[in-house]
């Protein structure tokens, strides 16, 4: 949880850069409290470095609270938009069928492309990306992970 004010994201990402920590994904958004934002950062590091990272983050004055989420006790989702080239009717139908199998939503159908929305864990999205590679992926933005610890 961080102060919802300008410059906070800069301070946090600058800390990652200056101390040589790697960021895999980062999401920021407002929360139920108007003066607080929630930032979800995913990173792959070992325990000792994680410990140091958390301590350094806690020192940042704009950070109100740091919580390490254990992947086994967390619900987490990512959203991906995939724009795929679809030249003709058959091609388009194939993609639409494919999307249905993976419970992806069709957001837009154009003359030469179909855009689908996928929500899931990063692994699921990776898996779909691999499956869909046979088609021509034009663009594929991902949001990064948003997460909450499971209820008691």
């Amino acid at each position: 949880m961080v102060e919802n004010k300008p410059g906070v994201l800069f301070r946090i990402t600058n800390l990652f850069r200056a101390r040589n920590f790697n960021i895999e994904s980062i999401t920021v958004g407002t929360t139920e409290k108007p003066d607080l934002s929630r930032m979800t950062i995913t990173t792959r590091i070992d325990e000792a470095i994680l410990d140091q990272l958390v301590k350094q983050l806690r020192k940042l004055i704009d950070i109100v609270e740091v919580e390490v989420l254990d992947i086994n006790n967390t619900v987490y989702r990512e959203l991906a938009l995939i724009k795929i080239r679809a030249k003709d009717f058959t091609n388009r139908n194939e993609i639409i069928n494919f999307a249905n199998v993976f419970r992806a939503n069709i957001l837009d159908i154009g003359k030469e492309s179909v855009t689908v929305e996928v929500i899931g864990t990063p692994d699921k999205i990776d898996q779909i990306k691999n499956q869909i590679k046979q088609y021509d992926i034009l663009e594929m933005p991902r949001t990064g992970v948003s997460a909450l610890s499971r209820g008691e």
């Binding site: 410059g7 140091q52 301590k55 350094q56 806690r58 020192k59 004055i61």
Partner: protein, 567 residues
């Protein structure tokens, strides 16, 4: 209930009132376009302004003042180049955990982001070397921002805070409230140590056969001098310091061993390898102090006491960690230890070993056979300088020689740019120290290379009646670089010769200070005595041989056991 006081005034005037409320008695700065309203308000402020000749020196002066006064020093600069000139000084204070409040002017709000004249994003520039940086956008925010800045700078692990005030915010006239209480939600410095860990640490210390105390800068920052001495005497542990901790413990004390590290005392570097339990107090296991992280402390119990939780396990994993204020943790340890019966005997083999190592290395260190050497000069300075005098240094050989050959007797009277290693720090910082303690002598042990960087502060020393002694060990070289080129680069010298330029006696005289050139020990004694008598800054230009190296030497990337004594 606190009823807030209100009155109509400008942002700049609110800044002055806020600084007065913090008890500020001196600020160091230089005016420019974007902080003119602040300078206008300074005319009526009830504290002193010291005009510097370069903003870097303003930051160093405020830093030197802070280290001696143990409260935040304040420096002022204008926007753009004024602000960026402060940055070296801010980074120096950050590396050495020194409380500093730097106040910069900024272009007006509506010009920010337009690449205006003398605009720089100083908040962005200063981010990695400040605890926090504020940019108030309304004059009404200034009192709260100032109060928060002093709180953040001085509490927990101290450090610099920047306040960047757009010019129109300085000029705005409005009703201003001065809060009595402030809260910084995301800032929770730990103060009270965890008592159960203190208990465990005490048990470990008492059961150790060969305990040693490694005192760092945290002892000086928290003023835990008597507590440190008490604990050392209770468990009869030799005390080594880090370089930043030099002077945390009287160096003429029977348990003192001096600083460890790259150019630490040989006996200190040796004894710490033989200990079975280390109590590290307010120290951060820096590479310069401990050599290789993986080798240091192997097979020993390490107890780490520090106010900054992020220092625990950063460079060295430890057995017992105590997070909290060093002074209060040590006081608790002393209380616990006093209740225990600890057997001490005069036949303590560990203390015998201490004596043995000191005697051995006093016979087996490389001596440089000249009439005048840095070592002899510093010993002479110690002999003639009153114990309570304050000593600081520049950076390089002069700094390391001071670490080795100048014993600090009165705790807390020594400081240096130990973390960032900023050449040009010592002289302006000594002027700041003099402002904090005008009643004692202040000496800057300098090298010619470093002194050259900020020597224009002589104007400040002379005009502001803040006389200090510049003890200039002049080898006409960037000596430490030359030593490395001699040692590691086959004497292929590059970029180290100063070629006797400038003449430091003439430089001193040009500023209205005293300049004394010294060639022999006799002349040196006379010069020191004369400097101690005069009321004006004195530069003692001491000609030493450029081939005199600093020994011992722990080469970078090696461990303390690999120390080279040169003998």
């Amino acid at each position: 209930m606190n009823i807030p006081t209100m009155s109509e005034m400008s942002g700049a005037k609110a800044l002055m009132t806020s600084l007065e409320k913090e008890g500020v008695d001196i600020v160091f700065g230089l005016p420019g376009g974007a902080n003119l309203p602040i300078y206008d308000a300074l005319v009526d402020a009830n504290f002193r302004h010291v005009l510097v000749r370069h903003e870097q020196s303003a930051a160093h002066m405020a830093d030197g003042y802070a280290r001696i006064k143990r409260k935040a020093g304040v420096c002022l600069a204008t926007s753009g180049p004024g602000a960026t000139n402060l940055v070296t000084g801010i980074a120096t204070a950050y590396a050495d955990s020194s409380p500093l409040v730097a106040i910069t002017g900024q272009v007006p709000l509506n010009m920010i982001g337009k690449d205006a004249f003398q605009e720089t994003d100083i908040i962005g520039v200063a981010n990695p070397c400040t605890k926090y940086a504020f940019q108030p956008r309304f004059a009404t925010e200034i009192p709260e921002v100032v109060k928060k800045s002093f709180y953040i700078a001085e509490s927990g692990r101290p450090g610099p805070v920047l306040i960047d005030i757009p010019k129109d915010v300085q000029q705005d006239v409005t009703d201003i409230q001065f809060p009595d209480l402030i809260k910084v939600r995301g800032y929770k410095p730990v103060v009270d140590p965890d008592l159960s860990n203190v208990g465990k640490a005490v048990e470990l210390l008492v059961s150790a056969q060969r305990p040693i105390i490694m005192a760092g800068g945290g002892v000086i920052l928290s003023g835990a001098f008597s507590e440190l001495q008490a604990i050392a005497e209770l468990i009869m542990a030799p005390v080594v310091t880090t370089f930043k901790g030099k002077g945390a413990f009287p160096e003429n004390h029977p348990l003192a061993m001096g600083p460890i590290g790259m150019h630490g005392h040989a006996e200190a570097n040796r004894i710490i390898l033989e200990a079975d339990c280390i109590l590290a107090v307010g120290a951060r296991f820096s590479d310069r102090s401990v050599g290789r992280f993986d080798e240091f402390g192997k097979g020993m119990n390490i107890i780490h006491l520090d106010i900054d939780p992020a220092e625990i396990g950063k460079n060295k994993s430890v057995d017992i960690a105590i997070v909290g204020d060093v002074k209060s943790a040590l006081r608790t340890m002393v209380k616990m230890l006093s209740k225990m019966s600890i057997k001490t005997s005069s036949e303590n083999p560990w203390l015998k070993r201490r004596k043995e190592l000191i005697d051995y290395f006093s016979q087996n260190m490389k001596d440089y056979p000249r009439e005048m050497t840095a070592r002899k000069a510093l010993k002479k300075l110690r002999e003639l300088l009153p114990a309570e005098s304050i000593v600081t240094t520049e950076v390089g050989q002069c700094q390391m020689w001071t670490s080795l050959h100048f014993d600090v007797i009165s705790p807390g009277t020594f400081f240096s740019s130990t973390g960032l290693g900023t050449m040009g720090f010592g002289f302006p910082a000594s002027i700041g120290a003099k402002a904090a303690r005008p009643d004692v002598h202040v000496v800057d042990v300098a090298g010619d290379g470093s002194f050259n960087m900020t020597e224009n502060s002589l104007a400040v020393s002379v005009l502001e009646n803040l006389p200090v002694i510049v003890f200039l060990l002049n080898n006409d070289m960037l000596g430490m670089v030359a030593q490395w080129q001699r040692t590691f680069y086959d004497r292929r010298y590059m970029g180290v010769h100063q070629k006797s330029c400038p003449d430091y006696v003439k430089i001193a005289e040009a500023y209205g200070a005293n300049g004394l050139s010294v060639q022999s020990m006799d002349e040196l004694e006379k010069a020191i005595k004369s400097a101690l008598r005069t009321e004006v800054a004195t530069v003692i230009d001491i000609k030493i041989d450029p081939e005199e190296d600093v020994y011992p030497f722990v080469a970078p990337g090696t461990g303390l056991k690999d120390m080279i004594t040169g003998a």
